[in-house]
């Protein structure tokens, strides 16, 4: 890549992006626990949180993202979004030039409307396939657990790889609902990045460098809705013709066709909105067998309709009981074969960026029942270990006799199952979590 223009903005942006990217990856490792707060700045999960588990913080994050996009453009996409940066890396490796590319506003708006409606209907898990952060999380946690996860975990990676090789960051301008929202903000702004008609000689370098196809060098037009502010064009332009200008607002003129299409989409969307809850239940009922959910998930129906499968909780689970979707369960789930749900840990509740796992106090988490123990009294060896390990004192034991289980105190943490030398205890899933 030859940069003949002002390289400074580009270098600053790349440096910042590299730092953020490194931090965002590191946040998925146990040692990076202190960096996880950074991930909650991601736009789509914060928006999901407004619906699933409202907090002022989430509202501020969403507002900050929108304001930044309005005043400065889609810097989120070029500096912060881990999935976008992953695409940049792939694109750099393969040295793809995008050139002029298709602009399909109706497609991205349709995807956005569908996403928003699903979210309003309470099915925020629609982001599992569309939100860049969740996809990135899924890929990273998949790579960390590469030995155990099924191959299908990497389908998003494959798809994005192919998309990048085809048209660089076309995902960001054609599919990504977060990008579409931020793009609209950027489009509405009076301050825009433009090509100066006086300086530009129409050499077309900028158009070739642009990863989103936002530049039409012939018409000397830069589409601020799709521009992700990667600064490549500024670095490439030999004359310094790309600058920030005050412009008139663009006219918003939908064609009759797009009007009809948007009407149909809105009607379909309304139908989804009405049926959303049933849909969530239908999805959850399709999950067999029913998994145990992390504390704070509420119920399997709730969890399945909210979790976007970013895998952050899985990587930070102290007891190593949270597992990624596998061939048996299609969602993040609790599996006690490698450990127990640590009594004093509530990382999953603290970290979940989408609110699929509710924020809880430690006391609430310690009283949150996620399962119940099933005893096989026939094979019990009467060793009493389960009683000694139960953090809630729900099992009492007199030597020589079968342990006595008091289910009303049990939260299903799996400590007993984990310690039982003869596998006589199994924690079974319950339909709805409750505070005991």
């Amino acid at each position: 890549m030859k940069f003949r223009g002002n390289k400074k903005p580009y270098l600053i942006r790349v440096t910042a992006a590299a730092l953020f990217f490194a931090a965002e990856i590191f946040a998925f490792f146990p040692a990076g626990r202190f960096l996880t707060g950074l991930l909650s700045f991601n736009f789509a999960p914060a928006a999901a949180r407004l619906i699933t588990d409202f907090s002022i913080t989430a509202l501020l994050i969403v507002a900050a993202n929108l304001l930044i996009a309005f005043f400065f453009g889609r810097f989120y996409c070029s500096v912060f979004c881990p999935f976008g940066l992953l695409q940049d890396i792939i694109g750099t490796i393969f040295r793809r030039k995008t050139g002029r590319t298709v602009n399909l506003p109706s497609l991205r708006y349709t995807i956005l409307v569908i996403t928003v409606v699903f979210m309003l209907a309470g099915v925020t898990s629609v982001l599992r396939f569309l939100d860049p952060y969740s996809n990135f999380g899924n890929i990273i946690s998949g790579l960390i657990n590469i030995k155990t996860v099924p191959v299908i975990t990497f389908i998003p990676l494959l798809i994005i790889f192919l998309l990048v090789v085809w048209k660089n960051r076309i995902f960001c301008t054609m599919v990504c609902p977060a990008g579409t929202v931020l793009g609209l903000c950027s489009k509405l702004s009076p301050k825009k990045l433009c090509i100066s008609k006086d300086i530009c000689k129409g050499c077309g370098v900028c158009e070739r460098e642009c990863p989103t196809g936002a530049i039409n060098s012939k018409e000397k037009y830069l589409d601020n809705e799709r521009c992700i502010r990667c600064m490549r064009c500024i670095a490439a332009c030999p004359g310094g013709g790309i600058r920030v200008f005050d412009t008139e607002k663009e006219k918003f003129v939908p064609s009759r066709r797009s009007f009809i299409i948007s009407g149909i989409v809105a009607a379909a969307a309304a139908a989804v909105l009405v049926k959303g809850k049933e849909l969530a239940i239908a999805i959850a009922e399709g999950l067999k067998p029913r998994p145990i959910c992390p504390p704070g998930a509420g119920s399997i129906e709730n969890f399945v309709s909210k979790c976007t499968n970013c895998g952050l909780c899985v990587e930070h689970c102290k007891g190593n009981v949270l597992k990624k979707p596998d061939s048996e369960y299609e969602t993040v789930h609790v599996d006690f074969s490698d450990g127990k749900c640590e009594f004093d840990c509530k990382n999953c509740s603290d970290l979940c960026p989408t609110g699929a796992i509710r924020k809880m106090t430690l006391k609430d988490k310690q009283n949150c029942r996620i399962g119940l123990a099933k005893f096989n009294r026939e094979i019990c060896s009467k060793c009493g270990l389960c009683a000694s390990k139960c953090p809630k004192g729900a099992i009492s034991f007199t030597p020589g006799q079968l342990p006595v289980y008091n289910a009303s105190e049990c939260i299903g943490c799996g400590a007993c199952q984990n310690i039982c030398p003869v596998s006589a205890i199994e924690i079974v899933a319950i339909n709805t979590q409750s505070q005991i």
């Binding site: 006219k251 003129v253 123990a373």
Partner: protein, 413 residues
């Protein structure tokens, strides 16, 4: 089209959609009274002897509540003079209040008595009482309740009632006009009933489980006598013991039909109750229009059983009781945490036990296997959380075991 047009069109479109999607005008529907079920006098109002119970609303084959059918049935009930509607926070998985609120919305509020109950079993802190009460007003779309009960009092719930100051709060609501009459429903021993009555002297009525089956076996008679002595009008719940008394076994049914082929089995149970003094109303959860029609027939000119009929009924009940059955009333308060369909399983078992036909084995096995695997009796993990919740004090895990063993035996045979 420019932006202004676009926005205008969108606004029109949205408004239209909203209007179409169920914005009904607030109009009071007129009740065309076509008949009149027998009523009793309570204070200064007439209450129909038949109460519309909302713990068993009509269901669609898919298992969800058939709201449209319920609306029609409510209309029919109002037209027949049924003016007592009994719902509760917990009924139908918490949906009953909302559905009844919508069903009764079209009618003038003074034309019916609406009853609901404070679910003391769910209380975790004192603030819950007010929160739940306000939620109930909202769900029922009403400003007040005619009758209000402290729900399902047993030892534990009575402790909760005192601990969270439920009675003082409800008394306040009464002063504010949000409750007209205050009472409680009771599901424990006569001793506790006495204690509750003695604790508070302003109870205006009591809801008891009285029916021919519970009269002797679960000390129903003693409870009835205590309430009579305290001069409290009695609302009868479970008059059919969760439809058990409407579906007596073949031998018992034969005895009743031989005496009077016209009368339904259920009508005998209601008329038996009509012979008791001090009954304010009897709550019947009518899950099918036929139940409603049959009940309207029974309650129009409700007559107690004659001495001769009484003897016939006793004989039929004796024949029925010869076979063992499970006294589950399908109230579904048990709410199995792992999802075992306790009430459904028990009802299948009872049907099997009361069925005398040669096909009963096949019927039982096929019905049982029609249950989802995750809902069957063998999925019970014997945690015992259901036991304290059961108003009938059934040992549910043991009974489930028994049903599953029966299933295996019947299937093997």
């Amino acid at each position: 089209m420019d932006r202004r047009d676009f926005i205008k069109n969108s606004l029109l479109f949205t408004t239209g959609a909203v209007l179409l999607s169920g914005c009904t005008f607030n109009k009071t529907a007129v009740i065309n009274k076509t008949g009149g079920v027998t009523t009793t006098r309570f204070k200064n109002i007439d209450v129909s002897m038949l109460g519309y119970g909302c713990m068993r609303l009509p269901l669609k084959p898919s298992g969800e509540i058939d709201e449209e059918l319920n609306k029609k049935m409510v209309q029919r009930a109002l037209e027949s003079g049924i003016n007592y509607y009994d719902t509760a926070y917990m009924y139908m998985g918490g949906k009953s209040e909302e559905i009844m609120g919508r069903a009764l919305k079209p009618y003038a509020r003074e034309d019916f008595n609406l009853t609901t109950k404070m679910p003391v079993v769910m209380l975790e802190k004192e603030e819950d009482v007010e929160r739940i009460f306000n939620e109930q007003l909202k769900r029922c779309q009403t400003g007040y309740f005619d009758f209000y009960l402290v729900h399902c009092l047993n030892k534990r719930n009575w402790e909760n009632t005192k601990k969270y100051n439920v009675i003082p709060f409800l008394e306040r609501m009464k002063k504010e006009g949000k409750i007209k009459y205050l009472g409680f429903s009771h599901h424990d021993t006569p001793e506790l009933l006495q204690e509750i009555i003695d604790y508070y002297d302003k109870w205006e009525f009591v809801q008891l489980q009285i029916n021919r089956l519970d009269w002797k076996t679960t000390r129903g008679e003693e409870q009835y006598n205590i309430a009579r002595k305290a001069k409290l009008p009695i609302i009868v719940m479970e008059p059919l013991r969760g439809s058990l008394l409407a579906n007596l076994n073949a031998e018992a049914t034969q005895i009743l039909k031989a005496y009077n082929p016209e009368a339904s089995v259920a009508s005998w149970a209601f008329r038996w109750l009509a012979g008791l003094d001090g009954i304010l109303t009897m709550l019947s959860g009518m899950s099918e229009p036929e139940h409603l029609e049959d009940n309207i027939k029974t309650f129009t000119n409700l007559k107690p059983l004659s001495a001769e009929e009484q003897a016939v009924y006793d004989k039929a009940i004796a024949a029925h009781l010869k076979q063992a059955a499970i006294g589950c009333t399908s109230c579904r308060y048990c709410e199995c945490p792992v999802g075992v369909n306790i009430a459904g399983i028990f009802s299948l078992y009872n049907q099997y036990m009361y069925d005398l036909s040669s096909m009963k084995r096949i019927g039982f096995v096929s019905h049982y296997e029609a249950l989802k695997e995750s809902e069957r009796a063998d999925k019970c993990i014997k945690c015992g959380l259901c036991k304290p919740k059961c108003p009938q004090q059934l040992d549910i895990p043991t009974l489930l075991d028994k049903v599953h063993k029966t299933y295996l035996e019947v299937k093997g045979a």
